[in-house]
Symmetry: C2
Subunit: 279 residues, 2 copies
């Protein structure tokens, strides 16, 4: 489906794209907001066209409207336009050229430094700062915020892709953006207009029965569900990605060797060096 | 603003509620999707009314449509209706009665166990499993998914609140839901119809200049921005929460003593006991 094609408006059509025709979940309520969410695709190629004035501010307003634990607001975002910083990040993130292409590149940060400065300026000790919990809250709240920005962007006809490989070298990202101790770029986000040549079909996900449980976790159905999804993803991959790789093969390729982590096996040490003791 | 009041349809009105009349960011593009995102409020009191048939499946379809790192899908969700499990969780989460009240309580889990089982069944070693990075991806992907479910729920006239206090005792949550090693309830989410008596004004956030940076992080404006926000939050709190507490006072109350963590200062040890070595 081309990005310019209107998104499916019926639940049935949208669910068939997301789950395949054989795993459509029970029909529920539906509206255009839900149709927008279901139509998400990550896009890895952008036109250079600038965004309309005020787009960044609108996306950040959406992001700040997401819930944040105890209203602590322990996240920040850096909009990166400096070409040298973008080129360095693109290279560090496994040469992802779309980081340089897209008109808006956002670095979403876990940020406990603002609250640390508040404590210093008010003369208050904040003994909770060095804990893993505090870092985790910051990372989760950054994710909730970023996802709202993604939904807002897609509602405006823009495309996005998260850049987890920004964690390949968080110390480099911190140097390039002047991040103080207690701030870490958790992931990046490209925002822009999809390049016309980019493949962008809705990617099927595991059937709901594989990820949604009622009262108790269970694995009895899992092997059959995975076999069905493997066949579906192999067909999807053959059609859209010039291969025929099952989901299981992809998971093993990605999780089966430390080199696939791109340096992220060092994350605990890097986080400590950036001011997150992870107590 | 009552929950039954239609949300503001102009950018100006919605931004004034979110930032206060003196900190409205630059006007940008606007539509009903963005108006929905801006109107978010966390709700801590619910009517017992059941949700329409298929609502859970629709919310999960929205959740699964969020991006997931390398399509690994390392998250799961448990819909908890068992009254004993809910009561135990409500108690563990600092006696949050809305966990028992709401018609749908979702436990969002970081879940590397499904991919671990895949590796075992396929005879493949997955050496990346025990790393902090892998847990972090799982927690972030659970957050992206949950936020999509929140947006979908709110589009249907439902309300929500995240329950971070589910991390007060993740081992108890794991026992109650039969979570295998490699699965951890990262946070809960109440979903339902807001009780009419619940206060539910849109909560102002820090001005954009305090969280959004251009190319380089900076703190020069921060003291003035914080002073303005402190005054605004004290006024908001006096009007809606029967107090007049500034943001800085709230942050210090929340981050200034370990007891406010409700046990979450033990999170690293608990995660290790649940099958996340955090290497």
């Amino acid at each position: 489906m081309d990005i310019s094609t209107p998104r499916p408006v019926t639940a049935q059509d949208a669910l068939a794209l997301r789950y395949g025709p054989d795993a459509i979940p029970a029909a529920g309520p539906w509206n255009d907001h839900i149709a927008l969410l279901l139509s998400h695709r990550s896009i890895r190629g952008y036109r250079p066209d600038a965004l309309p004035a005020g787009t960044l501010e609108t996306l950040i307003a959406a992001a700040q409207s997401a819930a944040t634990s105890s209203n602590l607001q322990t996240w920040s975002v850096v909009a990166v336009s400096d070409p040298a910083a973008r080129a360095a990040m693109a290279k560090a993130a496994g040469n992802q050229k779309h980081i340089e292409q897209c008109p808006l590149f956002l670095v979403w940060c876990a940020d406990v430094s603002r609250n640390a400065r508040l404590g210093e300026q008010e003369g208050a000790e904040l003994p909770t700062l060095p804990y893993l919990e505090t870092f985790l809250v910051a990372a989760i709240d950054a994710a909730l915020a970023a996802q709202n920005a993604v939904v807002a962007a897609e509602s405006l006809g823009l495309s996005t892709v998260y850049i987890g490989a920004l964690r390949n070298d968080p110390a480099l990202v911190a140097r390039l953006l002047g991040l103080p101790p207690g701030v870490m770029g958790v992931f990046g986000l490209c925002v822009g207009y999809a390049a016309p040549e980019v493949t962008n079909a809705v990617k099927p996900r595991l059937p709901q029965a594989a990820v949604l449980f009622h009262d108790r976790y269970g694995t009895a159905e899992e092997p059959a569900l995975r076999a069905g999804y493997d066949a579906q993803m192999a067909a999807f991959s053959a059609q859209h990605e010039m291969g025929a790789t099952s989901w299981s093969q992809r998971v093993i390729a990605r999780m089966g060797k430390l080199t696939a982590m791109g340096g992220r096996d060092k994350l605990t040490d890097v986080l400590r060096s950036l001011g997150f003791p992870l107590k």
